[in-house]
């Protein structure tokens, strides 16, 4: 990258592409060309910066200017102002939501300050479609080192020493997993990369594959060498076309450079990678279900043992790791297990990528060291709660994680602490809720997902989750009694205790954790038929406050069922028998004259 004076990094991630960052890229290139700057300014498409909410993102190096929400038509101004005159385009700079100040330099953004990027190290920095850029960023160095200088045993030991644990949800120590797989004999062993990523809202794996596909390939070769596998399979959901495309390009380039294929780097070791497409079911991310799906069978889990390491794809020893897990691997060999183990907590080393979402100012993908507190994540990186509302809960771990409250805000985040608190790491979803969220409705929302995604193989999950949903539905409608609450708790416990796979074993978490932390909300629904957060439609009414109503007619004009009566400048009233509780009147009234009771 040396010869250019300036680099314009245009995000080519799925989020930014959806707002035409590809057109923006073309425009910037054209503009640079037209201004005769092609020898000074390089325009590069990169992977996701993690700040997708404010995309498309353009980052200018060397001054680290961070432009947000850039439109294709802004290309001319950026080149004219920034590249030629050296002046930042002020209107495209990021505004800190807490103090409304423009922040010119990404280093000054709270969003990035506390992040440590290992798995995402190259995302937003290199061109994922150009292997040379990966090579320039120490790419394939770890692989070269392992293949030429280490025995499989030594390489596995290094992985064990690093303390890396699986990022796909289970948190199983990666080195130990490799060791087990290395010891089982088999004609043809396999390395499988789990890129199914079925958690709605999670997109770390997609971002890694889009922004830095080679890191996964490199890690898979290392993994193959360690366990004696010569074939790698990447199971990726078909809904990730960009990631698939970049992976394909990466595989082709790696083959061309002799980094995949036979006799890699003259080491005598053969390894190649194939892509397999997922059908999109959440449960297909579970490793045994994933393997059955790749075999063309129904994607449903089977009882473990046997574990994939013993009998996996086609009955052969198979090591399954998650994309993010793999993305950590090359760095561990480059910088050493000791370095990696110095980051994080005693039992959870390194970093974790989270998809921060919900009622929070900075929504996006972040990578933080294990041991960071929820408070730091939510209030510093996340910039606090939106619209100055009050923090209520944070749900971690995806659809079957638990809801944590302010009493957990200072708990250091790691695998074991989250479990102890009644939630889990999961794949790294993190959804922040404020006082406007009803926790019973939240639990119901997640159960709706699990009911949809259960494979139906085992009775507690197939039927039990449906019943959980129905009980929650009853509660949100004010039709439940105390006995229903007892049944809800018992059923949750039994589903967790008896389900076959991780889906059912965790699906009651949202119920149990909200019952533990927000019992008063359940009781309000049951005893008083009230929804404290004003969310559950059957338990609320929209009313017009006579003192505040000026008769502007805004509510009446916007009511979809025309159930608001009132003349201009007269008090308006709502016909409760017709109201569908859509909330439009509340939203449209400028005089705070509509309230929820």
């Amino acid at each position: 990258m040396a010869k250019f004076k300036m680099h314009m990094l245009v995000c080519g991630g799925t989020g930014c592409r959806a707002s035409a960052s590809d057109v923006l890229y073309e425009n910037l290139k054209k503009e640079v060309q037209e201004q005769g700057l092609q020898d000074d300014v390089q325009v590069v498409t990169t992977g996701c910066f993690g700040f997708c909410e404010k995309g498309p993102i353009v980052k200018v190096i060397p001054d680290n200017t961070f432009y947000v929400s850039v439109e294709p038509k802004d290309a001319q101004e950026i080149v004219a102002e920034h590249a030629i005159k050296g002046r930042r385009v002020e209107r495209l700079l990021y505004v800190d939501p807490t103090n409304k100040k423009q922040i010119p330099d990404s280093k000054g953004m709270g969003f990035y300050k506390k992040q440590i990027r290992i798995a995402l190290r190259n995302c937003g920095l290199i061109d994922p479609e150009n292997i040379d850029e990966y090579l320039a960023a120490d790419g394939y160095e770890a692989m070269g080192k392992v293949l030429s200088e280490m025995t499989p045993e030594e390489a596995i030991q290094e992985m064990i020493d690093s303390g890396l644990r699986g990022r796909g949800g289970g948190g199983f120590p990666t080195g130990i997993k490799w060791q087990i797989a290395s010891k089982v004999a088999g004609e043809q062993k396999y390395v499988v990369c789990n890129a199914d990523e079925g958690d709605p809202g999670a997109f770390m794996d997609r971002s890694i594959l889009e922004g830095d596909p080679h890191t996964v390939l490199e890690a898979m070769v290392i993994n193959g060498y360690c366990i004696g596998a010569t074939k790698g399979l990447i199971y990726i959901r078909a809904e990730y076309p960009l990631a698939i495309n970049r992976l394909k390009i990466a595989i082709d380039q790696a083959r061309e450079y002799g980094l995949l294929g036979t006799d890699i780097l003259g080491s005598g070791f053969d390894f190649d990678v194939e892509i397999r497409y997922g059908a999109g079911a959440f449960v297909c991310g579970e490793e045994t279900a994933l393997i059955h799906s790749m075999e063309g069978e129904r994607g449903e889990p089977t009882f473990k043992p046997p574990f994939p390491a013993q009998s996996g794809y086609k009955g052969m020893p198979t090591n399954v790791n998650n994309v993010e897990t793999f993305a950590n691997v090359p760095v561990i060999y480059n910088k050493g297990a000791k370095w990696f183990a110095s980051i994080g907590t005693e039992k959870s080393k390194g970093t974790k990528v989270f998809a921060l979402a919900g009622k929070i100012n900075n929504v996006g993908l972040i990578e933080v060291p294990m041991g960071i507190t929820l408070r730091e994540v939510i209030f510093e990186i996340g910039g606090g709660i939106k619209d100055g509302r009050k923090f209520k809960a944070v749900q971690t771990g995806g659809p079957s994680g638990g809801c944590l409250t302010d009493k957990h805000l200072d708990t250091p985040i790691d695998f074991d602490n989250l479990l102890a608190a009644g939630s889990m790491m999961g794949s790294g979803g993190m959804i922040v809720m404020d006082e406007d969220d009803c926790m019973v409705a939240v639990a119901k929302f997640y159960l709706d997902f699990t009911v949809e995604e259960s494979c139906g193989k085992c009775s507690p999950c197939r039927i039990g989750n449906k019943r959980l949903y129905e009980l929650l539905d009853k509660i949100t409608k004010g039709q439940a009694d105390k006995e229903d609450l007892d049944n809800l708790r018992n059923l949750s416990g039994v589903i967790r205790d008896t389900s076959l796979c991780g889906l059912g074993q965790t699906s009651p978490n949202p119920v149990l954790s909200t019952m533990d932390n927000f019992m008063e909300e359940y009781l309000a629904h049951v005893d008083d038929h009230r929804c404290l957060a004003g969310v559950c439609k059957d338990l609320i009414r929209y009313e017009i406050i006579p003192e505040n109503c000026v008769g502007c007619t805004a509510c009446a004009r916007n009511c979809p069922v025309n159930c608001i009566a009132g003349e201009r400048k007269q008090l308006h009233t709502i016909d409760q028998s017709l109201c569908i509780k859509c909330g439009a009147c509340l939203e449209k009234c400028k005089f705070n004259a509509v309230e929820i009771v």
Binding site: E300, G456, K466, E470, L500
Partner: protein, 590 residues
């Protein structure tokens, strides 16, 4: 074998490594309830999907409960099989299953014989705290099997039978979650699938989700019709199993009581399918000898090995899966159909009854026979040779319904002439029996010598694939035997690949042959029951005065009076058939 020690309910037990907690507990006589688990021992069918979760136990140090049927014992393991946590979990899981199940016990075909009902009784379920929506699925009425998926508990046993044992591959899990159900591909109905109607799915279904089509109502109506002569034939395997439905030990022969019961039910003529089995041997045996002779004379066109054709499940199987090989099986019809054809011609003439006024009913251990008698080629002017077939289970039900005290019935004899049969015919009911019967006759006809020893032990057994050779006076006849369509498939693949050495192969679709048929009283996962029936069949053979088909006097008379000789034109018309390429069956494509 490595042995390990563990503790179950505070008692120590030593087991082989790899043993599951369920089996270890059994060693201590500790019962653990199961619903989905099934192990058919010698038949080498084990099904442990770990799906129902009623077998959970508590294992010290484990976060959640473990399914005893699928969890292997570990050295030093501490297991509790009836802690409060376990009992609560089991009961809750059962309540969940019941909450998604119709409360049809009073009117369900499976009632009294249903594993789910049994478990609800044992666990003392008195109310279902978890009420809600019930999953529903379109019912499926095929000519032989009814699928009522509202009663399915997703144990998936049917899949194991259909896919792993039979390799037919019709049934598999479709849809997800609460809507998950077992169904043929593309959610077709069975009649539009490649189902062979072997009924093995029905035989293992723990609930009323899979049952045979019920013909008893029709039968009662016909028996009450004074204008109809109702003739019944009973297959050999029925007499070895019917007693089970009346509390008798598996393997009790109830031939005489069965005949008495049928008479009391009002049948005009109580005959024996065994008569037709002897006839089958005459035809099939002659066909085999014919093919062998041509083969020995150097005829390259002749198709060998010859495959038996008396099992309609198997006939359906090759019509769907090996249609290009459909010229290999014998053209002889099954005994059920030979019986029907003779009853509605030869016997109808004898009693001067018009075809239309005669109803031929068969009692079969079989579900496929229900379909077989509906085949167009077995009808004359739309009138079927066999009007319908009822299963052993249906007969038992009918006897109970008619308030007949079965166990106190006298022993009675079949009617003549179509009630006379030999020991060779009886053994049609078990794997290896048809070919043994054929060998008994073919040997004597071919060599012109009397057999010194009638029992061919080398052809008997329960192994899925067996082979033996028989010395036909210097000519070595190589024989293959398979029961279970998966085993049959292997032999067929060998034939296809030109690797088969056999001259004749016997195939039966069901495990153990008809004794393990899909229409028999349920074995509830106990393979010893099937073996006990098999023993009974050989006992009945031993006790028969005549044990070779060609010596059956009624058969000899039938040829003299009516058919001429085996393979005659008349025999061809009435006793032989042809097969179809059902892969092309257009209904499959619609």
């Amino acid at each position: 074998m490595e042995m390990i020690k563990l503790n179950i309910d505070n008692r120590t037990v030593e087991v082989e490594k790899g043993t599951t907690i369920y089996h270890a507990a059994k060693k201590l006589d500790i019962g653990i309830p199961t619903l989905c688990y099934m192990n058919l021992g010698d038949l080498k069918i084990e099904h442990k999907p770990g799906g129902c979760r009623v077998c959970v136990v508590e294992v010290e140090g484990r976060r959640n409960l473990a399914p005893a049927c699928a969890t292997e014992c570990m050295d030093g393991m501490q297991v509790q099989t009836h802690s409060i946590r376990v009992l609560n979990a089991r009961k809750t899981v059962l309540e969940l299953i019941l909450s998604d199940h119709p409360f049809d016990c009073l009117i369900c075909a499976k009632s009294g014989n249903c594993d789910l009902q049994d478990m609800a009784i044992k666990m003392g379920v008195r109310s279902i705290p978890y009420q809600g929506e019930k999953s529903t699925y379109k019912p499926d009425f095929s000519p032989a099997i009814i699928r009522d998926m509202d009663k399915c508990i997703m144990c998936r046993r049917c899949e194991t039978m259909c896919n792993d044992f039979q390799t037919v591959g019709v049934l598999s899990g479709v849809n997800r979650g609460f809507e998950a159900v077992v169904a043929p591909a593309f959610e077709r109905d069975l009649d539009h699938s490649e189902c062979t109607y072997c009924g093995q799915c029905v035989a293992v279904c723990p609930t009323g989700a899979l049952t045979e089509v019920d013909h008893t109502t029709q039968l009662i109506r016909d028996l009450a019709d004074p204008t109809k002569k109702v003739v019944v034939q009973t297959a050999p395997a029925v007499r070895a199993a019917l007693g089970e439905a009346f509390g008798l030990e598996p393997g009790t022969l109830v031939t005489g009581k069965m005949v008495a019961a049928l008479r009391r039910l009002g049948f005009d003529y109580v005959f024996d399918t065994d008569f037709a089995a002897d006839l089958t041997i005459m035809e099939e045996g002659t066909e085999l000898l014919g093919r062998l002779t041509r083969f020995l004379e150097g005829d390259k066109e002749v198709k060998l090995p010859m495959l038996t054709s008396c099992c309609p499940g198997w006939v359906n199987f090759f019509e769907y899966h090996f249609p290009d090989m459909r010229d290999i099986p014998s053209t002889a019809r099954s005994p059920q159909q030979m019986f029907g054809a003779i009853a509605k011609t030869y016997f109808a003439e004898k009693i001067e009854t018009k075809r239309q006024d005669m109803i031929v009913v068969s009692v079969m251990p079989c579900v496929a026979k229900k379909y077989e008698c509906t085949r167009e080629e077995f009808k004359v002017d739309g009138n079927p040779d066999v009007d319908y077939s009822i299963s052993t289970r249906e007969l038992a039900m009918l006897i109970k319904r008619s308030n007949i005290d079965f166990n106190r019935l006298p022993e009675e004899e079949f009617d003549s002439p179509m009630g006379e049969s030999t020991g060779a015919a009886v053994i049609f009911g078990t794997t290896g029996g048809v070919i043994e019967a054929a060998v008994r006759s073919a040997y004597e006809i071919h060599t012109g010598k009397q057999l010194e020893k009638i029992d061919f032990e080398q052809l008997r057994g329960i192994e899925g694939i067996r082979s033996a050779s028989v010395d036909f006076d210097g000519l070595e006849i190589k024989i293959g035997i398979a029961h279970g369509l998966g085993h049959a498939r292997k032999l067929l693949d060998d034939i296809k690949a030109g690797k088969s050495e056999y001259h004749a192969i016997e195939i039966m679709a069901c495990p153990g042959g008809c004794v393990g048929g899909g229409g028999q009283p349920l074995h509830h996962g106990n393979p010893d029951i099937i073996k006990a029936r098999q023993k009974a069949i050989y006992r009945e053979d031993m006790n028969k005065p005549i044990r070779k088909s060609h010596e059956n006097p009624s058969i000899i008379k039938l040829y003299e009076e009516f058919l001429g000789e085996p393979m005659s034109e008349k025999a061809h018309q009435l006793l032989h058939t042809h097969y179809f390429d059902k892969k092309q069956k257009d209904v499959l494509l619609d």
